[in-house]
């Protein structure tokens, strides 16, 4: 067995410029890990502040839903290896308008991902510059604005924008290096922590005596779910991943397992080393606090965690730029957004306009957040959870619909536990996942006061843009554009060089045609 990955084929002369397949296995994995790794960094303190001694339980509850989401995305991304993720599956399974809604929810997540994590990264850098950290100025009615921090955040967004225009190979290489380094350092913290600092009796004590209220616990679960948005970014990179139908299931399943390992190890370790209050007080750098308490490595922990935090959240922001641009590219290709977004740079073959547009949106969010103070950041986090759960819910429904409408597309990976009915595999876990994400969305709307207004508001704004675009171009507003999904699927598999699946698909269609012809002749 080898890990050989074939070089991408050269584009034909005169063919439209497409995204380049430059993402390797490790690159695809680290796209997801970069996103999730950073979220765990931020979520640990937030979840601990709400779930107290039950933090591992909150991560486990969110992890259960995450596993279901992971299974669903693995199936969908390997069957339909194109950019677009949840939006593409929803468009294909449920229709154009639902695809737009899923896409809008995900765009919300990705732009917040850019602004929030660029700001957080700049904040970690400022760990070494206390003067910048404490800087504040009043401008008119806005008070206590840290202009230097805001400028640093904007600078990082511009940096990521240039990196993403330059090419996904450079962008992916950046993620691969930092993602790998982060994983090594996190492993060192966990291993040393469990070996020399962890006390199981302390975990049991905190679990017994510091259990949160029901509402607090559900809030913690809904925050913990934001740790798991990385899977979506793996599928966003599918169109630029070599041999995606083979690689994506491996990277997705690995990501599910690795993230669960880290997401469960950190809170269990933390509760066995420190009281939950110590971590909840330091929401911005809980991992640094935890690492400081570990013998032999603790003396380096503060600085190392600050550097690590700055880099890992920066690659998460990078994932946001990549995700937003690829998603809008896909929506544009599907006529859910203006074709303006699908322009690809002739030299670098990256969706340049989409990269610039969503970087500017993220920059605007940064400016807005610095003008309104910490409450704006809260709004962003709340909307983040709303966007993710809405998109995941629609993806589960799309999965079920596609199993019924499109049983011919080969699925290199199929969600476990299915019931076969008239040749169709009904996904039991897909149905459970749909209910679980719907319940999670309910929890988000119940527990996040600001998110319940801003999240749906964003989706409605994009719905209005969609209706305007469709009306202007005389496309149907509420029904679907005519599409030849079978022809598209053949083109996708050919472009992905997944010839085995291509032949499998062609034969499945031939069998169906044969049956239909026989049926018609009777």
């Amino acid at each position: 067995m080898t890990s050989e990955v074939r070089a991408p084929s050269a584009a034909l002369p005169g063919a439209p410029v497409e995204l380049r397949r430059d993402v390797s296995i490790w690159g695809s994995f680290t796209w997801g890990y970069a996103d999730v790794g950073a979220d765990v960094y931020v979520a640990l303190g937030l979840v601990m502040g709400a779930a107290h001694g039950a933090t591992p339980l909150a991560f486990a509850a969110a992890g259960f839903v995450y596993i279901l989401i992971g299974f669903a995305y693995t199936e969908l991304a390997s069957a339909y290896p194109v950019a677009g993720g949840g939006q593409y599956y929803t468009t294909r399974g449920l229709g154009d308008i639902w695809g737009l809604i899923a896409g809008a929810a995900l765009l919300l997540d990705y732009t917040i991902c850019i602004s929030l994590f660029a700001t957080a990264s700049a904040g970690y850098i400022n760990f070494f510059f206390p003067a910048i950290r404490e800087f504040a100025i009043d401008i008119g009615p806005f008070q206590g604005i840290n202009l230097i921090w805001a400028a640093e955040s904007l600078f990082l967004i511009v940096l990521l924008m240039i990196l993403n225009i330059r090419g996904i190979r450079e962008s992916s290489l950046f993620n691969s290096l930092i993602g790998g380094l982060d994983m090594v350092l996190e492993t060192i913290i966990i291993v040393f922590g469990f070996l020399f600092a962890w006390k199981p009796e302390m975990v049991v004590f905190q679990f017994k005596t510091e259990f949160p209220s029901t509402e607090q616990f559900f809030y913690a679960v809904s925050v913990a779910i934001i740790s798991y948005v990385g899977l979506e970014s793996v599928s966003q990179a599918a169109q630029e991943t070599r041999r995606p139908a083979t690689i994506i299931p491996r990277t997705s399943v690995s990501l599910i397992c690795v993230v669960l390992l880290f997401a469960m190890a950190f809170p269990i370790l933390a509760l066995g080393v420190l009281p939950w209050q110590a971590l909840a007080e330091r929401e911005s750098d809980p991992v640094a606090v935890l690492a400081s308490a570990i013998p032999y490595i603790g003396f380096l922990a503060g600085h190392a965690a600050a550097v690590l935090g700055a880099t890992i959240v920066l690659i998460s922001a990078n994932t946001g730029v990549m995700g937003a641009s690829r998603l809008s590219y896909s929506m544009s290709e599907s006529h859910l957004l203006s074709p303006w977004f699908s322009a690809v740079h002739p030299k670098f073959r990256t969706p340049v306009r989409a990269v610039v547009f969503f970087s500017v949106v993220a920059a605007a969010q940064v400016i807005f957040s610095f003008l309104t103070g910490p409450h704006a950041m809260d709004t962003m986090v709340n909307m983040y959870a709303f966007g993710a759960t809405l998109a995941y819910f629609l993806s589960f429904i799309a999965l079920i619909a596609l199993r019924i409408k499109d049983p011919y597309t080969p699925r290199p990976y199929r969600m476990p536990f299915n019931i076969q009915f008239k040749g169709i595999y009904i996904p039991i876990l897909g149905i459970v996942g749909a209910f679980a994400t719907l319940a999670m969305m309910g929890v988000v709307l119940w527990t996040h006061a600001l998110g319940r207004v801003a999240g749906p508001g964003w989706v409605l704004l994009w719905l209005a843009v969609y209706l305007w675009y469709r009306w202007k171009n005389r496309h149907p507003l509420f029904s679907n554009l005519p599409r030849d999904w079978e022809k598209e699927q053949i083109a996708i598999l050919t472009s992905a060089e997944e010839f085995d699946l291509l032949e499998q698909y062609k034969h499945a269609l031939a069998e169906r045609n044969k049956k239909e012809a026989k049926h018609a002749s009777q």
Binding site: T2, T187, S254, L261, P295, E511
Partner: protein, 192 residues
Amino acid sequence: MIDLIDQINPLGGVIALFFVVSLISILWWMLHPPDYIPAAAAKARHSVFAVKKILVPTVGLPYAERGVELACRLGSEQGAEILLTYVVEVPRTMPLGIPLPDAEQEGNEALERACSIVKLHGLPFQKILQRARLAGEEIARIARDRDVDMIILGIRSEPGLRDAILGRTSDIILRHSPCEVLIDKLPKGAQE
């Protein structure tokens, strides 16, 4: 060093070990995907996989029964249906419906033996006993009428023919077959 080991919490050590081993195993599995399948290989692989109905003419002799076994092995992965055919040739000097109890009994026995081979593989099958003036034409007609994907012919070289290796029936099947034909010829001395 001994002091260091003394400080290790045994349960923590187990968890740390489990964590590291799990992480390495997952990453190793991820970095070792299956080999790349080129277009030509995929086409060849799936064209065989698409063979869902195989017709095997039998004459009740070992070389023909070997053809049945070959058909079963080729069709086992995709659960292909095996059509076992025996054609009783009726000379033109006789009416087609004339009673031929001996020939029919011989045909039924040959089909039964072929069935027992297919049953060993657990594949679906049909027995077809037909009368015709020319066996080759009738086999080609069955293949056409029943949408057969492949015919497997077990043959032996005709000792009486110096220039042609195929007999009359095989030759007609090759000329008139609407589907793929696979010929299995045993070397001399291996037929009996």
